[in-house]
């Protein structure tokens, strides 16, 4: 869309006011997914497969149904009979199959039946009365093993057009892209390095488990309250899975206790509604932590081969990567994204990348912050680091030498618009952290990271009140303070104080469609829509002022919250503040509001550079992160404190992924560490303060220059920490997490 009204001087944007939902969140008043109650409410519980892969021979629910406290039992038979298309193209089928198993249980934790009872305890007890007969099948959980010729087949025919002949049926999508001639490029190089890397699956680890409260009557009308990153997608999916009309289901998003991509789909919501329809009472379903780990989306695990050619001066002559991603028992592992992002930071003449989407007997992967990008960056940036070391070159200089900039042909095809990679590298080089002395046993690593960012379907509505305040309705759940950013942008356009704007996350019945809060799109897309909606209201305010002055509308402009004549020829009138116009709006043409609906298509890609110091205990292999600096291009930081928060949070999640977090499966294919005791996310004492530098290279696709900042921050940490650890330990770590046993074993192997 045309963005002829780009702004660079701001009154409100860039300030750091208190968030509008702050009071509710520090007093315990804020209502999250599990905090809703309804009259007559039942409690649901879900029975899950103890097998990694098994045919469901028979489910006998009669004993559970006969129990006095049980009001409904559902299995797959209670969902829509719509013949969704299976396989890749049928995402509804995939989701249905995932929320309630059909013929087979496809992973440890796969839902097979559910009950609703008068109390949570009664519901859990009733699960024990359901008898399921399984026929165990061979299983596979490792990505390389799942591609091997003898691997058990998860589902025949799930592969799409892209998979070349002769591949195992578990390979369901194949991506290949790049340009130039990599073999010729390698021939030009002074040094060619080739290596393989492995990363385990990690979980988004939001502290709030999935929770919902659903009511569905036999008239086909329903209400759903749930913790989600996107209630319209929940509405659409639940309606499809239950065979009801989308608009008949009203979905309200609760406050959301973290998502990071993991709450972009549904798990328990259709089950609660199915139970409710059967029991004719509201049903609340709340996952336990163990259910969250076993049955909701972790990220993909990956196995990767990288080959890079470099001249003595650091110029990269060619790069090739092969990325095999395992995404559970359904298509969707982002092998294509990994491939497209892996070399995106570099200006390459010759590049080729191949990505695989591979199924295995694990839970269906879900998006996790820049899905697919961190693993690829880990592999690529590790090889570049090793080459810098071999050639005696400074790692930032080498990256600067090869850095992508405006006009560079990206590794994934098109040319870049204005981007900020070079600026982040220069800021990194100038940062005191980069040249601070290291103690013995410490190492320093750096890495770049890239992510696409996303726009997506967006609707925003803004209504002015008589007293001159404004209510803003957006449809993207606020996960990290976005209501503050929206209010700042609206204040900027309207010229009224930030505090005079109340931002609400509207439900599906009160606003047009909105895509999920994902793809770092909220401040970009809902922000853009907010600006446009506010401008729409301003146009009407100007019309009212013009009418009251008896001059043409185009002779009025909006300045500092007032309508003013737009020039000496327009006449001499006193400015009319917003509240002055709204005070009379009822009698001058009616209520004034503004709205905007579109799919903004200018999200603008994003880059970051991280510097990290790590210390390794050579006797135990234990790593401590001693200093961390995040440098990232935000385009324009609307609320800088919350931008910093995104950077810090991404870095912390990356530290967890790099050092200790992993899905551990036993020989039996069952997940062994489904509690926070053994799924080790960083605790407060594990981390240093995380310094941040906000670089601002405005995005040409947003009126205020915003680029999404949510996801890029998790792309560089894995590699940056691996580089720091490898320097500290004196041995290259090629497998994540770099847990103490792995580091100690590598040190031993190294002599």
């Amino acid at each position: 869309m045309a963005l002829d009204d780009r702004k660079s001087e701001f009154t409100f944007v860039g300030t750091r006011p208190d968030r509008p939902d702050g009071l509710d969140k520090v007093t315990g008043r804020a209502k999250f997914g599990a905090d809703a109650y309804a009259p007559g409410m039942l409690h649901g519980a879900i029975l899950r497969s103890p097998h990694a892969h098994a045919r469901i021979v028979k489910i006998d629910t009669s004993k559970a149904e006969a129990h006095k406290d049980v009001k409904a039992v559902v299995t797959r038979a209670d969902f829509a009979e719509v013949p969704f298309k299976p396989g890749l193209e049928g995402e509804f089928w995939n989701v249905l199959e995932n929320v309630m198993a059909g013929e087979k249980a496809l992973y440890d934790g796969h839902a097979v039946a559910a009950v609703a009872a008068t109390s949570a305890l009664a519901a859990r007890d009733a699960l024990k009365l359901i008898e399921v007969e399984y026929e165990a099948l061979p299983h596979v959980t490792d990505v390389d093993k799942a591609m091997a010729p003898d691997a058990p087949v998860i589902r025949e025919g799930a592969a799409d057009y892209s998979v070349p002949e002769g591949m195992h049926p578990n390979v369901v999508r194949y991506h290949e892209s790049g340009h130039g001639d990599v073999e010729a490029g390698f021939a030009e190089a002074d040094l060619v390095m080739e290596d393989s890397f492995v990363t385990e699956a990690t979980h988004q680890g939001y502290i709030e488990p999935h929770a919902c409260l659903g009511m569905l009557g036999n008239d086909g009308k329903g209400e759903l309250w749930c913790t989600t990153q996107g209630h319209w997608i929940a509405q659409k999916t639940c309606a499809a899975l239950l065979g009801i009309e989308t608009s008949q289901l009203r979905v309200t998003a609760s406050e959301i206790g973290g998502g990071f991509g993991g709450k972009t789909t549904v798990f328990i919501e259709p089950v609660a509604l199915a139970l409710s329809r059967k029991a004719n009472r509201p049903v609340k379903l709340v996952m336990s932590r163990s259910e969250v780990f076993r049955a909701t989306g972790p990220t993909a695990s990956a196995s990767m081969d990288i080959k890079i050619g470099m001249k003595k001066d650091g110029t990269i002559t060619a790069a090739r990567g092969e990325f095999r991603l395992q995404g559970g028992a359904f298509p969707g592992a982002p092998g294509d994204m990994t491939a497209m992002c892996a070399f995106a930071a570099y200006n390459l003449t010759n590049v080729k990348q191949i990505g695989y989407d591979v199924m295995a007997n694990r839970p269906k992967q879900a998006a996790y912050r820049a899905p697919g990008a961190p693993m690829g960056a880990f592999a690529v940036e590790s090889v570049i680091d090793e080459m810098c070391k071999k050639l005696g070159l400074d790692p930032i200089d080498v990256r600067l030498k090869n850095a992508a900039h405006e006009g560079t042909k990206a590794s994934y095809g098109p040319r870049y618009e204005r981007i900020g990679l070079v600026e982040t590298l220069e800021a990194a080089k100038a940062h005191p952290h980069y040249t601070a002395p290291l103690k013995p046993g410490q190492g320093r690593g750096i890495s770049c990271g890239f992510w696409f960012n996303h726009g997506g379907e967006t609707s925003v509505s803004l209504a002015l009140s008589e007293d001159g305040s404004a209510q803003l309705m957006v449809g993207t759940p606020d996960i990290g303070g976005s209501r503050a950013s929206m209010a700042l942008m609206a204040a900027e356009v309207l010229g009224i104080p930030y505090e005079n704007i109340r931002v609400t996350i509207a439900d599906t019945a009160t606003l047009g469609y909105n895509d999920v809060s994902h793809g770092s799109r909220v401040t970009y897309a809902s922000g853009l829509a907010t600006i446009k909606a506010a401008k729409h209201a301003v146009e009407k305010l100007c019309e009212r002022a013009a009418a009251s002055w008896g001059i043409p509308t185009d002779a009025v402009k909006w300045e500092n919250g007032c309508a003013v004549p737009s020039g000496p020829n327009a006449g001499d009138f006193d400015p009319r503040p917003l509240a002055d116009i709204t005070a009379h709006m009822g009698s001058t043409g009616g209520p004034i509001s503004g709205h905007f609906e579109a799919t903004p298509e200018g999200a603008g890609v994003s880059f970051g550079t991280h510097i990290v110091d790590a210390e390794v205990d050579p006797e135990t292999g234990k790593t401590s992160v001693t200093r961390y600096t995040v440098i990232q291009d935000a385009g324009k930081a609307i609320h800088p404190t919350y931008v910093e928060g995104q950077y810090q949070g991404g870095a912390a999640q990356g530290i967890g992924w790099a050092l200790n977090e992993e899905y551990i499966y036993g020989e039996d294919g069952r997940l062994q560490n489904s509690i926070f005791l053994d799924y080790r996310i960083p605790v407060a004492s594990d981390l240093p303060m995380i310094d941040t530098v906000i670089v601002e290279v405005p995005n040409p696709g947003h009126p205020f220059g915003v680029r999404g900042v949510g996801e890029t921050g998790i792309v560089p940490p894995l590699a940056a920490i691996a580089n720091a650890v490898s320097h500290a330990a004196g041995v290259r770590m090629k497998q994540l997490p770099m847990s103490p046993p792995r580091i100690l074993a590598a040190l031993k192997d190294n002599g």
Partner: protein, 288 residues
């Protein structure tokens, strides 16, 4: 599940003796409730022993020994002005268990009766020579801590028996103890390896020592070869190396989600050395 809160250990013992099905005693509950919530163990009878008189007391006896009530929490032990001066290893081992919140509830006895080979307080108690008083239908008996666990999740306590007191010996002169564990994070993990060392000096020479290892075998081990490796030494490098070798040799660990056999075996030696140095420094009256 039946819930009882008896007023005496005799009553608690009788309740347990007469109960059918699974019986659990509830002290701090930091293991019992986790098992209950995850439906790993749903007791038929739960006997809350916190309402028994004196179960929170931490008492220094006339002979310098200590008697701890069975529901004295980790936080109460850490806050006690004297206990940590005598037995810093036991107190710090207890303090390592879980979070601040868990410290507000968790107890030595609970940690012991949970029967985990990775229990942090148990190697420290074994090294310190701690005993427990066991009250049963036939009266009381005193049992060395190392004789309580018999395997993962299993104890030597008979039906109707309940631990009613923890007895820590008098510290005596020139003694020091220490406990170290290895965890991948800085907090909140289960020990991958734990080492407790307790020793006494004459001059610079070690005359008595007890070394115990956690998380490297089905139960916590009291390793005599480790003690032998340092008794008679001034904890010189040769003694430390011998200690590490003896510790590693005593390991009989498993590969699991928390660590590998090779890792546990290696790190047991590393931690034994480090813990011995701390205990030695403490015995000499140095800060450590």
């Amino acid at each position: 599940m039946d819930y009882h809160s008896p007023a005496s250990f005799a009553e608690a013992s009788a309740l347990a003796a007469n109960a059918t099905g699974i019986t659990r005693f509830l002290a701090g509950g930091t293991d019992v409730l986790v098992q209950l919530r995850s439906e790993l163990v749903t007791p038929d009878t739960l006997i809350d022993i916190k309402k028994i008189d004196g179960v929170r007391d931490i008492t220094c006896n006339a002979d310098g020994s200590w008697t701890l009530g069975v529901v004295a929490t980790g936080a109460e032990m850490s806050e006690h002005p004297e206990l940590g001066r005598d037995w810093p290893g036991v107190v710090e081992a207890m303090d390592l268990i879980g979070s601040t919140q868990v410290q507000g509830r968790a107890t030595l006895t609970g940690n012991l009766c949970n029967g985990s080979p990775a229990a942090d307080s148990v190697p420290a108690m074994v090294a310190a020579g701690v005993t427990v008083t066991v009250t049963g239908p036939d009266g009381d008996r005193e049992v060395a801590v190392e004789n309580i666990p018999t395997g993962p999740g299993k104890t030597s306590l008979a039906k109707g028996e309940v631990i009613s007191a923890v007895n820590i010996p008098a510290r005596g002169e020139n003694g020091g103890d220490a406990y170290l564990r290895f965890i991948p994070r800085t907090e909140m993990d289960i020990a991958v390896v734990g080492v407790g060392v307790n020793l006494r000096l004459e001059g610079d020479t070690i005359t008595e020592a007890r070394v115990s290892l956690g998380a490297v075998a089905p139960t916590v081990l009291l390793v005599e070869d480790c003690a032998k490796a340092i008794i008679g030494s001034t904890l010189d490098d040769a003694a430390l190396d011998a200690l590490a070798a003896a510790a590693s040799a005593a390991c009989n660990p498993i590969d699991d989600k928390r660590g590998t056999i090779a890792f546990r075996t290696e790190v047991a030696g590393v931690l034994a050395k480090r813990a011995a140095k701390i205990a030695y420094a403490r015995a000499k009256g140095e800060q450590a």
